[in-house]
Symmetry: C2
Subunit: 205 residues, 2 copies
């Protein structure tokens, strides 16, 4: 693209560095901001910088939090012996929305992915193993996405914590509630048959 | 969405004020910035604020420009008697890319759209009429999108400039080069038949 303004070109370039945003979308967003009052751009810039510079993570579960210990970890009603391992804050939000989980979380901050240059030391794995060593944790639930990276990460953590006497489990994979069997993919359907549960258990929820 | 951090909630809110970006995408973008080095967020914020605060418009055609008179208006080789009326800088860029146009532009900054609260006085129409009055402009080419708003805007300007002795034209609508007739919409196909051109003319380009 051939811009008539360096200011515009630079703004479009920086916006298009965001994932999933190409040059055309970036130009559309920049032109939108130009049509809005100046303070909208100011509030956006300030919010982004503030987030990036002031962000804190819970010292226990590494979730994003404005205080040292996040609300979930600080809640005495949650079971601290049960820890659900997730990738990022979106997974915490999704599980919290179900209202079904009463344990704590451990946010890894990503998955092991050699292709993207993300190794175990880039993730919050060490502190999880330390928590297990201390003996407070009785069960770890793996809730990473079931991709190769997710499985690798699960297995890496599993090897680290298996010497200690704890339970490990992984969230159930199967046909979504309300879905038709004929449209399910084979891997999911296969897993849901292999990991079938006693019928009486299905009546509980 | 229930955030564990006000900083994150605020950033997500501000990002989701951009057109076409919902809360989920905004959260994805915010988390992306958190995983990148601080200076990426700094460069983005700075570029946006710089654009919004320092932006200048060409005093002749109102296109975005870092100097008083944009490159196109300042180019003595362009025909100043021919003015193409467009909505915004994206249209200028698209027409410039064709390499077919040697006149100047006039950027309106939008279209008349009562539903969005945009009236004639919100657009750069007055300065266009002034240019026509001064007698330098001999022909105006309307190149707005062929929507109701575009047609209204064309007609409004047409009424303003018609008392003066100038030519007005509109860009040709028709089947795109290389497109199959059977897939064209009826309105476009209808117009392309009504506005057919002498065959010899089609051999020129």
């Amino acid at each position: 693209m051939d811009f008539s303004s360096k200011l515009l070109e630079n703004a479009v370039y920086e916006i298009s560095q965001l994932p999933g945003i190409g040059k055309r979308t970036a130009l559309r967003l920049a032109l939108h901001l130009l049509r809005q009052p100046k303070d909208q751009t100011e509030r956006l810039s300030f919010a982004l910088q503030n987030l990036r510079n002031e962000i804190k993570y819970c010292k226990n579960c590494h979730n994003i939090s404005d205080v040292d210990l996040c609300e979930i970890c600080a809640n005495p009603k949650r079971e601290e012996s049960l820890v659900c391992v997730v990738e990022d804050i979106r997974d915490v939000m999704a599980i919290e929305n179900t209202g079904q989980y009463k344990g704590l979380y451990h946010v890894l901050g990503g998955k092991i992915s050699p292709l993207d240059g993300i190794g175990p030391s880039d993730l919050n794995i060490h502190s999880l193993v330390e928590k297990v060593k201390e003996g407070v944790v009785k069960e770890i639930i793996f809730a990473l996405s079931s991709t190769m990276e997710g499985d690798t990460t699960n297995f890496y953590i599993y090897k680290q914590v298996s010497p200690f006497n704890i339970k490990t489990s992984t969230i159930a994979r199967g046909i979504a509630v309300g879905d038709e069997l004929e449209y399910a993919d084979e891997v999911t359907l296969g897993r849901s048959i292999l990991n079938r549960i006693p019928f009486e258990n299905s009546l509980k929820s």
